[in-house]
Every structure is written in structure tokens, then in C-alpha cells.
Amino acid sequence: MDIIETVFLRNSLVVAFAVIGVTIWISYFLADKLTNGRIHGSAIAIALGLVAAYFGGVATGGNTGVADVALFSGIGLMGGGMMRDFAIVAAAFGVHLSELKKAGLAGVISIFAGVIVSFVVGAAIAVMFGYTDAAAITTIGAGAVTYIVGPVTGEAIGATDAVITLSVAAGLVKSILVMIGTPLVARYIGLDNPQSAMVFGGLMGTTSGVAAGLAATDPKLVPYGAMTATFYTGVGCLLGPSILYFLVSGIF
């Protein structure tokens, strides 16, 4: 046992490559044999990843899913922000400038629309659950924007820790649902071209959710969605503790 642990820990990133590679091989096999290719192999792989993350989190009590299990710590590095951003930028290789220009304005509008709509929905639900304090309502609304905007806003306007935790949970639910739901609804919302992918990225905003959701739908759409999604969190952090908070305090 000791030998295994030593080797796995010392080569954690290499272990991650192997584990993820085998997971994807199994997923594509299942997609092909069980669903006849109706469900994309990467969608199954991402779902398996999320299930593993749940059990990893429950077993260790940590907050980085399966990466908290020592033997799989390399997955934390492989799936961390640095590698994610590096691969997303690489995915832009081969993107056509003309496609970006065509959807530019709609992309920008979608970022602001996305932040405001998610915020209003989250805040309305907070009110429905009986919250009457402007800081709490704003923070939960901001959590529905993304799980980064929630705590940034909450800390800026002095919300309680419990409310901030709640806002992170709301943002995580959103991110995970986008990962799973995107391939299922893609056909119905016309998500099959660069323009709608840019609008989608701007509306959803959660970089992880958009990245995984589009990868499971059609990898060619990823760079377009990611391009707008990466502006969303910044816009959310800008609007949340300022205009949106002022509006909410005006009402409550």
C-alpha cells in the first residue's frame, strides 16, 4: 500500500492524465454502445466527474471534490483554473475573426442581460423564502450570477457568513446545471452556431459551466461561448455591490 501511495503522490499529475484518460475512454464506449451516440461521450465523462466530485467531497469534507482524495490530488492541478484557462485560450486557435464580429454586439448585450436576469431571479427567490434584508437579498441574487460574484458582493456589502455560503451554493447549482443541462436543451434553444454560442456564454456566464456544457454539446462552439463568459464574472463583480445593491436597498 505504501509503495502505491508514494508513487501516486509523487506523480500526481501523471496519475490524473491516466485516470481522466481512462474515464473518457469508458465514457465514449458507453456513449457509443448504450446510447448509440445520442449522448455525447464528453457529456457522460463530465457527469462521471461530477459524481466522483460529490463522493470525494462527502468522503473528505474538502471543497475540491475528488482532488481532496490524496491519491487523486493531481486532478486538482489538471482541472484547476490555470490549466482550464490555458486550454480555453488554445481552443480559440482557428476561430474566425468574422464570426466574432458578427455576434459582437449581441455578445456584449447578453453579458449585461445575463448578469441582471440571473440577479433578479436569485433575489426574487430570496424574497420568496422570506428574506427582507437588502444585503442578504443582494448577496443571494449575486450568487445566482456566479459563485464568485456571490461572495465578492456579500463581503463588500457586509452580508452574514451564512448568506454568503448560501450564495456560493446557489452559484454552484447553476454551474453544475449548465454543465449537465446544456447538451440536453441545445437543440431547443438553437445552440448550434458561433453567434448563439457567444450569446449563450454571455447569458450563462459561469466559465466552468459554459466550458463543460459546450464541450458536451459541440466542442467547436467552446471558444465562442468562453470568449463572452470570461467577461461575465467581472461585470457581475462590478454591478453586484454597486448599482444592483443600491436598487435592492431602494426597494427594501
Partner: protein
Amino acid sequence: MIVFGVALLSICLILGMLIGEALGVLLGVDANVGGVGIAMLFLVFASNSDALKALTQGAAGDGIKFWSAMYIPIVVAMAARQNVAAAVDGGVLALVAGVAAVVVSFALVPILSKLGNPKTPSFDSEEAS
């Protein structure tokens, strides 16, 4: 040389991140504003430029394509390190707020796509028929 492409990709990401970070400071926001998006624009410009052909074609281009192909495995690893347990533990309010935000945003995708480009829907229906 493969590493030339990898270096170009790295430089694009670092420059984009620096600009995104600076934008955050300028706007007084505690976040990187669009660093990755700006980095992607740099790479798109570089790959469309004749002057940088040596860094984006042949073996150097393969260095970029490799990381582009590693995108899905990295996303799977990213899924495996999400705090799913916390999302499940968040209770009904977090669940309802998250789900509602996603459903409403999904519904807006076709509306805003039409707004930006009126031709898109007809293109879609042609494909469907």
C-alpha cells in the same frame, strides 16, 4: 519547433491576464475582467497574421493544437474537482435560485441570438428541414 507554438499560447494568456487584472483594478473590482477572453483575441489575431506564421503553422501550430485537444480532458478534471457536495448541501433556497437562474437564462438564448443576427433563425430552419 513545437515549443514555439506553446510559448506563443502562453504569452497570449499571460498578456490577457495582465490586462484583465489591470481592468479589474481600474474598475475597482476584485476580479479579473475578461483576461481569458482578451488572451483568446490575441491568439485569434496571431493565427490570422502573416508576420507570425512561423509560430502558428507546421510543428509550432501542433503545439497549440495539442493543448486545444486537451481541452475536454481538462474540463472533465475540472468537473471532478467541483464542490458538488456543497451545492447539494446548500438546501432548497440555493437549489431553487440556481435552477431558476439557469432556466430563465436558457430561455433568453434564442431571443438574444435573433436580436444580434436576424439571419440566424432562417439558417437554423434551413438546416432542420
